[in-house]
């Protein structure tokens, strides 16, 4: 099919689909008048029952923790998928380690990027840790903080030290961190089963609302998810960077 014909047929189909879509959304309740009872109920009880100030965290890591476990496993599976898809294939150099030692791949990184990268690494790490540990108090949490922590290490890559980072075998380390995070999260769910005969029950003393140590298992879940996301992001990035090195050779 020629690009022109594809374009025209696509517009025709999308116009039909769009008409149905608009018809559908016009049947929703007016904007700003949401009447969901579940959300209202959670808003009313979350801060007194669980002593957290971030109700979204309470939903994710307590009331609907089971769903978050599945979400976490989706991430885990996709990382495995990427590693499988990007594995070394027939006809490729099976041992890229040797060639990477003398690779001049990132020599074109400018000094400005290097200096700024090095300066930002510490700040980004601190911000990521802050976001992870305050997930139950202020906006943020394990997922967001984990991505920021991953970005901090990506700054090392960006500053041109990819080869240096590879000597630390980041993929093995990151696999461990990701697995420990995911296992810790599942373990918190099982802990509820052991401590109070209901899986995913918040079984730790919830403390006082607004304090750093409060909310029972919620901050611990944030930490576990933070570890898992941190590992996952780094595995994904280093797998893709590895491909860039292979292609460049």
């Amino acid at each position: 099919m020629s690009p022109r014909a594809r374009q025209i047929s696509c517009v025709v189909v999308l116009l039909g689909f769009g008409a149905f879509l608009v018809w559908g959304v016009l049947g929703l309740q007016d904007f700003g008048h949401w009447t969901g009872l579940y959300g209202r109920r959670v808003l009313k009880v979350a801060s007194s029952e669980r002593q957290v100030t971030n109700v979204v965290s309470a939903v994710n890591f307590d009331y609907r923790m089971f769903d978050t476990l599945i979400e976490e496993l989706i991430l885990f599976t996709s990382v495995m998928g990427v590693m499988l898809v990007l594995r070394h294939q027939r006809g490729e150099d099976p041992e890229p380690e040797h060639a990477a030692g003398d690779s001049e791949g990132f020599e074109d990184t400018t000094d400005g990027v290097r200096v700024l990268g090095v300066i930002l690494i510490g700040v980004t790490l601190l911000l990521g840790l802050y976001i992870v540990v305050h997930g139950h108090l202020t906006p943020g949490g394990g997922f967001q903080g984990g991505v920021i922590l991953g970005a901090a290490v990506l700054l090392v890559f960006l500053a041109g030290e990819f080869v240096t980072v590879r000597h630390l075998h980041p993929v093995e380390t990151m696999e461990t961190i990701e697995a420990v995070g995911a296992a810790g999260f599942a373990g918190l769910g099982l802990g509820g089963l052991i401590a109070s005969s209901a899986a995913f029950h918040n079984f730790i003393w919830t403390g006082t609302s607004g304090m750093l140590i409060s909310g029972g298992t919620i901050p611990l879940s944030n930490l576990a998810v933070g570890c898992a996301v941190f590992g996952a992001i780094l595995i994904l990035a280093s797998e893709l960077l590895e491909q860039a090195l292979i292609v460049r050779r």
Binding site: L21, G32, V59
Partner: protein, 114 residues
């Protein structure tokens, strides 16, 4: 005026689908997919919004103050995580396609043989 956010989300979905269907580059196609996925964030957040309400975070405000629905916000977070995983997989597949066929143009991909 009451349905503008919903219509905007429908528009994002349509424009993203158009981009996917007419794309000539696999990376561009993945980015179009993220546009389609952003339409779902907008729809979810729009549905959960309540007039004159604050974010569902009770740091520094009185508990019981009118707030937007936290459940759809948690759903949006799930949505974003799923998007990230899908994008990562698609990009990996784009890398493999480029290695095998030497091109990122979806029109130039041939069926895979075992």
């Amino acid at each position: 005026m009451n349905h503008v956010p919903y219509l905007a989300s429908a528009w994002l979905m349509l424009i993203g689908l158009y981009g996917i269907a007419t794309s000539r580059n696999l990376i561009h196609m993945v980015l179009c997919l993220t546009v389609v996925q952003s339409s779902t964030y907008l729809l979810l957040l729009g549905v959960g919004y309540r007039l004159h309400a604050t974010a569902p975070i009770y740091q520094g405000i009185v508990p019981g103050h009118r707030a937007v629905d936290p459940v759809v916000q948690a759903l949006t977070l799930t949505d974003i995580v799923v998007e990230a995983t899908v994008v990562a997989l698609m990009l990996a597949l784009a890398v493999v396609a480029h290695k095998r066929f030497g091109s990122l143009d979806p029109q130039k991909l041939r069926p895979l043989r075992g």
